[in-house]
Symmetry: C2
Subunit: 354 residues, 2 copies
């Protein structure tokens, strides 16, 4: 055998005794071919084991069937599920996905986007608010259709639509639930407020606290200053919670954070939920495998991925979009971490606690 080169259309044409464009037409159905000729080509294709060269095809057509998916951390269950669903939806539409895991590193964001531009991807799914905002400009400058998930591009000039889950509703659902189970002092735990999502969740929390009648001293804010492993951040926040013995409930801005907190509280034999109730955010798979199973604000990740891909495909096909921001609604999944064995004075208004 040796270095026998792969068969090309030319080889198929030669073996079938036709011209190379005829083979192309046959394979792509771009022109009718006579039955006898078709049979000869079919035979030649099989005999040579011919496979089309996508590079040549894409170069000529000036379009590809490749898509870039940019995510920050595939270890995070939220992004694992987004990745799984985005890739699946794209595949079902004939696209193949480049995985770009950035580790929240601005330098890598840039490197990947350059790479995707050079690969002439048909589109990009941006799975989180990029650290380097300038990257959005590059994507637009090269006229690559792109969809942003769970964040929004501030610059209105840039044509990058978003699929977002209502973070205000999310925080409200959490606070409402904690109110209903009688929480008196709620800790808000968050990673650094480095993007739109984390900011909105915090704003939503503050607003909801007011709505449910909580005052200044009924909350305890724990927002990390630096971005690092989320579970570790939670673990560190857990220590702060332990030092503040009025806290009877925690609302964590992500499940991962909540896991870290739970780990710390368990180490100190704090009973969850009876001493401290905990609500997370995201509803990643893990949240029903930890002990206690985590009450959490559920993001419709499957639907987000589906919607995001749907919008991207529209852009790729040049169809107009009805709007620039697609807002989905979260829901609350109640599990053990807020189901008290001993009922508290349910619904008690903290303002009337004298």
């Amino acid at each position: 055998m040796g270095k026998s080169k792969q068969a090309t259309m030319k080889d198929v044409a030669k073996l079938a005794g036709v011209s190379q464009p005829t083979v192309s037409h046959f394979i792509n159905g771009t022109a009718p071919v006579s039955h006898t000729v078709a049979e000869k080509m079919q035979k030649a294709i099989k005999e040579l084991g011919y496979m089309p060269n996508a590079l040549a095809r894409n170069l000529k057509q000036e379009r590809t069937n490749t898509i870039g998916l940019i995510i920050p951390d595939i270890d995070n269950g939220y992004y694992t599920e987004i990745t799984k669903n985005v890739e699946k939806n794209l595949r079902e539409h004939g696209f193949i996905t480049f995985l770009c895991n950035t580790f929240y590193d601005e330098r890598l964001e840039k490197l990947y986007i350059n790479s995707l531009i050079q690969q002439k991807v048909a589109g990009i799914v941006i799975g989180y608010g990029l650290i380097g905002k300038k990257a959005y400009e590059d994507v637009c400058k090269f006229e690559i259709p792109a969809i942003l998930m769970d964040d929004k591009v501030e610059d209105d000039e840039l044509n990058i639509p978003s699929v977002e889950v209502n973070n205000f509703t999310g925080s409200k659902l959490a606070v409402e639930h904690l109110y209903n189970i009688g929480a008196k002092k709620i800790c808000y735990a968050s990673e650094p407020l480095f993007n739109r999502t984390s900011n909105l969740r915090f704003e939503g929390f503050k607003k909801a606290m007011k709505e449910f009648g909580y005052g200044e001293n009924d909350s305890f804010i724990c927002i990390e200053n630096n971005q690092y492993n989320k579970i570790e951040m939670g673990y560190n926040i857990g220590a702060q919670i332990l030092l503040n013995n009025n806290i009877d409930a925690v609302f964590a801005s992500s499940d991962q954070l909540a896991f870290g907190i739970i780990q710390r509280l368990k180490e100190h034999n704090v009973s969850i939920p009876d001493e401290i109730a905990i609500v997370g955010y995201d509803d990643i798979q893990l949240s029903k495998l930890v002990t206690p199973m985590l009450t959490t604000v559920s993001q419709p990740k499957y639907f987000m991925a589906k919607k995001g891909v749907e919008i991207l495909l529209k852009m790729i096909n040049g169809e107009p979009l009805t709007k620039k921001l697609f807002l989905l609604e979260p829901s609350l999944i109640i599990r053990e971490s807020t189901m008290m064995k001993v009922e508290r004075s349910t619904g008690s208004n903290p303002n009337n606690k004298n």
Copy 2:
């Protein structure tokens, strides 16, 4: 602006007043260029925002910088980590990764491999023993360098090397540990024996049982017949374990399986490890987040990914391989799920239990 096409080398050449091949030589450093000409080209590149077209480049060079990664289930923490590390290592060597998540579906395996062949990927990382063995032949027929992880191609004709973790050692470590903590009757829980890995772990288990003096009736074998969600499989196996009240230890062939078992046992208030001790396999991140934290056989996933990529790159560069099978060794991570509060008759030989 409108549909302004992206700048090409031709445009750069024109603006700089040189020929297009000169631009190519400048960009790739394939020939020296005079300082003055270089400056003009640099300026033109910046002005036009020129980006090379990888399709054209790859077509001409008859090689690409793309790699396919085939995994069955990115939700499974084992594959999440493999994916993360493979992608990272490839990126560090200038490659970009196509993610192919097959859901263990033979039809999808085939579809993805065809797709990768057409994309003319430089190589393929196959993350698990494929269901459709014929796919290996296709990969070889098209002379695409490929590395198989955690399995081995039976057909010696096919040039697909493997990185494997010693499954015999793994099972032995587990049985040895259970022996040391005094287990009398050990349940072996496994997904269907549909590939080399699951078979080897089972063989390793049986061999180790003999070595440590366990007899016929000291084990209880639970091997599922059909492949479905692993946690659910574990949950179902958990029911069988409950029905057999002699069992005091479980060795599960994957952590996911162990989680399902733990879930079931907890629902029935079986104390872990005091009534039943559990050892898993893989050491995925989750295993230290569940309660009780799982004792497990740890696969060196980081090193596997690194080694796999290293071998693949050698193949791509046409370097000879020293061997076809690269065997790594697992280790045992002891956590809560086998740490008895009440010590059993440690090391007691089950053969002397009269």
